[in-house]
């Protein structure tokens, strides 16, 4: 579910959405009360559907298109606990097919105590271990990949990574909706706003 107040941009969109939601209701109710009620019901249904919906992943350009754009296709991957998961690996390998790829994996370092199952886990060590495993797996699959640690806030980590890495495409891997704090933060939508290129969302579990 989208959090309408996750950040300023989401709140601004929420404001615009409220105007779009209420304007037809007011106009319809001025015409006839029953029409206003009908439009209210319809608009409420549309609003509930929109709020409950996660942003659909954008279609990545075809391999041929991507290869034709530039010689090297730079893919920025943001993931935490799902970084070394098979689904993310599969997507990256598919995206790297037919192009000279440069894949940068970014793993945010969670602060100590962030892991509910084991608060004693050191965030830096855990992130490093995941990065090493993911880079090794991708290289074994023939993908040119490297990794770096990022800020604990995924939005900050993404912004910082984009400053030093001119990405052509972003891949964000999260847990499923309901289990992912990043989705609560609407990180995929935020990335879509901040980045002009394709943003692919992978549910890594």
């Amino acid at each position: 579910m989208r959090n309408p107040l996750a950040n300023e941009e989401a709140a601004f969109r929420f404001l615009l959405g409220t105007i779009v939601y209420l304007a037809p209701i007011v106009l319809a109710s001025w015409i006839a009360t029953w029409l206003g009620v009908v439009v209210f019901v319809v608009m409420s249904g549309v609003a509930v559907f929109y709020i409950r919906q996660d942003k659909p992943p954008q279609a990545a350009p075809s391999v041929g298109d991507r290869a034709a754009v530039e010689d090297t296709w730079r893919i920025l991957v943001l993931a935490n606990e799902t970084l070394a998961g098979p689904r993310l690996q599969e997507v990256i390998v598919r995206l790297a097919e037919g192009v000279a790829e440069d894949v940068l994996l970014v793993c945010p370092v969670m602060s100590a105590g962030s892991f509910i199952e084991n608060p004693a886990v050191d965030g830096t060590s855990a992130a490093n271990a995941r990065l090493q495993a993911a880079v090794a797996a991708l290289r074994a699959a023939g993908v040119e990949a490297r990794g770096e640690l990022g800020d604990g806030d995924p939005a900050v980590a993404l912004t910082a990574a984009l400053e030093g890495f001119s990405a052509d495409e972003i891949v964000i891997s999260t847990h499923a909706s309901g289990r992912s704090p990043w989705l609560e933060q609407d990180i995929v939508a935020a990335a879509g706003v901040a980045f002009d290129g394709p943003v692919t969302h992978v549910v890594g579990d």
Binding site: E8, F12, F14, L15, L22, F115, P119, P181, Q185
Partner: protein
Amino acid sequence: MTAHAEAAVHGHDHHGPPIANKSSRIEAVVLGMFMFIGTEAMLFGSFFAAYFFVRVVNPDASTITPEKWAVWPPAPFEFPVFVAGINTCILVTSSFTMHWALQSIKRNNRRGLQAGLVLTILMGTAFLLTQFIEYAHVGFNTSDGAFASVFFGLTGLHGAHVLVGLILLTIAALRAFRGHYSPEHHHGVELPGIYWHFVDVMWIVVYVTVYLL
């Protein structure tokens, strides 16, 4: 064993209360925002419940011409719909300038941030002043019936939120003029911005339900 000695035995050099444990399932910031939305929804919800009760369920609560209950507000009173509409435009425009301010600092445009915040504060102040003038000329008071009470209650509650928002924005603006904030660190602007948009949303709902419908 004293607390200090116990800490030494366990190899800790930490003073003060223990570090708060954070769940990995939900971020503290997100949880806090959901709790804030919940409390605000209940607060405004209670006022809206009173409003709809007076208007729909128990129109006779109005001491003025109860036989004309279908007319809102009860005759002979009228809400200044046009002035409130202008005020709504001012407040919605202030959300655009707020958004512009934040987009500016994200692009390292400090002038834009400062200008956006100042314009937002000016428009928020204009909104509040207009509302005070509206109160002075509206032609009824809380003693004129329940409809007047809920009108002043709802709009006054919202006005109080605008005042809080203006205080937050003023603090953000002062910090902006002192050189605070950067493209990477602008939480001090982002959070008042979220609050300001939320206040605008609540006003639109108040305006539509009380003045227009």
